[in-house]
């Protein structure tokens, strides 16, 4: 009973269009909510008219500051938040699947530690003398840390097999410790309290600097990484019973691991360099998504991306309105909301045995 191959393909395309449409709608709604709610009260009408002006040249007369805030601060911020949430959540899914470790998250590979070292190098130690921005330093540090961890994992015999996953986790821990020590060293060597504080704030995540140039960076990275991972959804499924089993199922394990871990690292490095390190998204959202749509990656990846995006937009909105006139670090909100949710999932999905 062989069916013509055209029909499942057509059905697949139909599904992509259908699901893509409602995912896009949900995302747009979340972004709109992020634009409407902010530190100060801007009427929804002003938001609408600003979007109409910018998108369709509607020509409404508006206060230029209000319009600037909506278009240049809030919209960019919501889009960047969505991209970071999606990127971190998808990275979390990838790492948890490939490393067969439920505790894996994008910062496991030393990326966050490396990013903070890079940021501290630029700010406290003055590398680049003001020409290099905090975010560029963070990006450099993140990439350097990941390369070091990858080399270390390779050198420690991280071949194919279940041991490889363990080795990269160990290498990640070693790398994180090394970079954290470097950061601490530089801070104690040359910082005063005021500077250390600027870095602390950044380490807890900060979306306030998100502008259109960041959008131009975050959107392609988030879309590309999600697409690449979605393309490999079946290969990721094949890791269910470990790397040997994946090999036997026809997955080129090394290539897939290298490609997807590389993708996750790149996404994390880019996101960390834009918004600082926002904890818990990459750990909790994948578990929450699995809880809702199951473990099959073809559903899990889009679900995690969407949930990550919405979670971070919501956390960002909360961070702006919890304390009036002041913005809390978003990492505080994600941890405060994420930790109980995580606990709930852990209890609910306790094995039936």
């Amino acid at each position: 009973m062989i069916l013509p191959p055209g029909r499942p393909l057509a059905r697949l395309l139909g599904r992509i269009v259908l699901h893509g449409a409602w995912i896009a709608l949900a995302l747009a709604a979340a972004i709109l909510a992020g634009v409407c709610i902010g530190e100060t009260a801007i009427p929804v009408g002003t938001v609408w008219r600003t979007l109409a002006n910018k998108l369709f040249d509607a020509g409404h007369a508006l206060d230029r500051i209000d319009q600037g805030i909506v278009w240049n601060y809030r919209l960019t911020r919501a889009i960047v938040a969505a991209c970071c949430g999606a990127g971190l959540a998808v990275s979390g899914v990838i790492l948890q699947s490939l490393l067969r470790n439920a505790l894996a998250d994008p910062y496991l590979l030393g990326i966050s530690a490396g990013a903070s070292t890079g940021a501290v190098l630029v700010t406290v130690a003055g590398v680049g003398a003001g020409a290099v921005s905090l975010s560029l330093g963070a990006f450099g540090g993140a990439l350097a840390a990941f390369l070091l961890v990858a080399l270390l994992a390779r050198a420690s015999g991280g071949g194919v097999g279940p041991r490889a996953a363990g080795q990269i986790v160990l290498a990640g821990i070693a790398g994180s410790q090394l970079f954290n020590a470097l950061t601490a060293f530089m801070i104690t060597r040359s910082a005063s309290a005021e500077q250390a504080r600027g870095i602390m704030f950044w380490l807890l995540g900060n979306l306030s600097g998100a502008r259109w140039d960041n959008v131009g960076m975050a959107v392609p990275v988030a879309v590309a990484v999600t697409s690449v991972c979605l393309w490999h959804a079946r290969a990721l499924d094949a890791f269910t019973f470990g790397t040997d089993s994946a090999t036997a199922l026809g997955v080129p394990v090394r290539r897939v691991q290298a490609l997807l871990i590389g993708c996750a690292s790149l996404a994390t490095a880019v996101m960390v360099s834009i918004v600082g390190s926002i904890g818990f998204v990459g750990l909790v959202v994948p578990h929450a998504a699995r809880f809702i749509v199951g473990v099959r990656h073809v559903r899990l990846i889009p679900a995690a991306a969407l949930m990550g995006a919405m979670f971070l937009i919501a956390a960002d909105v909360l961070s702006r309105i919890v304390v009036k006139g002041q913005v809390l670090p978003i990492g505080v909100i994600t941890a405060l909301v994420g930790a109980p949710v995580f606990a709930l999932i852990l209890v609910r999905r306790r094995p039936a045995r």
């Binding site: 600037g68 805030i69 003055g126 003001g130 975010s135 309290a193 500077q195 504080r197 600027g198």
Partner: protein
């Protein structure tokens, strides 16, 4: 917010210490300082100062020859103190180590900040020094009415007033038996402050407001701005400017959205020698204000009502009065 604040400041000044005791100090002297009682049998020698404010106050009292070390420098010493400063060893540009301070066998360690010597002191706790028989003095401006265990740069429980600075000068002068110099210094600073306030009041500006931008971790990020109760908050309040920032923290981060929509009449930006963040450079701050799509629409930016004040004049130092005068000059240029 403005009227109760003013009333409070007025009450504070009314209750203030007698400005000047002339004549020699009588020993043994007992001084209450930030929850610690210090007893001096004689004027101490070999003093070590941590924090440029404390250092320059001792120089202003002419005590350079009784000092054994300085630490924690933010910018160059004032030119008039250069000769004194050249004779005093500099222990460290930043936080000195406990042993390097104790090694000087100091008769007194005076610190500008509790985060240097205090409950969570980088150098040590006061008890650590007192156990070795080394008395410590914390500038009252940093401990009275301020909780340094809350908030990144501490949180003021009561608004700052220059009286705390004058009290510190007076007490140090008393400890070192330099009461005449102390009284003269306080009288000089107080006179300039009163003159500046009188000038500002005479302008009679309707609802003039301001924001103090110290720096930012990165240019696009939320800026560090002055809160209500800190030193810039005091400057604005006494001169009759409304601080658009509501927070009580010393230097809270507040979004540009909030700052821009509150549209202050004046923007004050800090000039400093530090170059750790891009925004430390006041030229970069100016460039940001004029190019960001939102801030460039602000009234104060469009009309170039941006005042550049030395960062040290925004702290509890003898340079604070320079800041008051600069701000008054800027107010004089505002439209009535």
């Amino acid at each position: 917010m403005m009227r109760p604040g003013l009333a409070f400041a007025a009450a504070w000044m009314g209750l203030s210490l007698p400005g000047a005791w002339a004549g020699p100090t009588r020993y043994p002297l007992v001084v209450e300082n930030c929850g610690h009682r210090l007893t001096f049998e004689a004027a101490p020698g070999d003093a070590v100062t941590i924090g440029q404010s404390a250092t320059e106050i001792l120089y202003a009292l002419g005590l350079g020859n009784r000092m054994a070390g300085t630490a924690l420098w933010f910018n160059d010493v004032l030119p008039e103190f250069k000769a004194q400063n050249d004779r005093v060893p500099r222990l460290d540009n930043n936080a000195p180590s406990f042993e390097s301070v104790v090694g000087k066998r100091p008769g007194l360690v005076a610190t500008q900040f509790e985060w240097m010597i205090g409950p969570q002191g980088v150098v040590g706790t006061r008890e650590q020094f007192h156990e070795l028989g080394v008395p410590t003095y914390v500038m009252p401006a940093d401990c009275e009415g301020k909780n340094n265990l809350v908030g990144a740069d501490g949180t003021r429980t009561a608004p700052f007033s220059t009286e705390a600075l004058y009290k510190g000068i007076t007490q140090l002068a008393q400890i070192f038996d330099q009461q005449d110099q102390g009284a003269a210094l306080v009288a000089r600073l107080r006179g300039r402050e009163e003159a500046a306030v009188a000038r500002a009041k005479a302008l009679n500006l309707p609802d003039a407001s301001a924001v103090f931008w110290f720096s930012s971790a990165d240019l696009d990020l939320d800026p560090y701005v002055a809160g209500q109760k800190g030193i810039p908050g005091y400057m604005m309040r006494t001169l009759g400017l409304r601080n658009v920032v509501q927070s009580d923290e010393e230097w809270p981060t507040v979004g540009w959205e909030t700052v821009a929509r509150s549209n202050p009449s004046v923007i004050v930006i800090a000039r400093m020698d530090r170059r750790r963040f891009p925004a430390d450079d006041f030229e970069r701050k100016l460039a940001f204000l004029r190019s960001d799509p939102v801030t460039r629409e602000m009234e104060a930016v469009k009309r170039n009502r941006i005042v550049i004040i030395d960062a040290h004049a925004m702290q509890a130092t003898i340079r604070l009065v320079d800041g008051l005068e600069a701000l008054t000059d800027a107010m004089a240029k505002l439209p009535r």
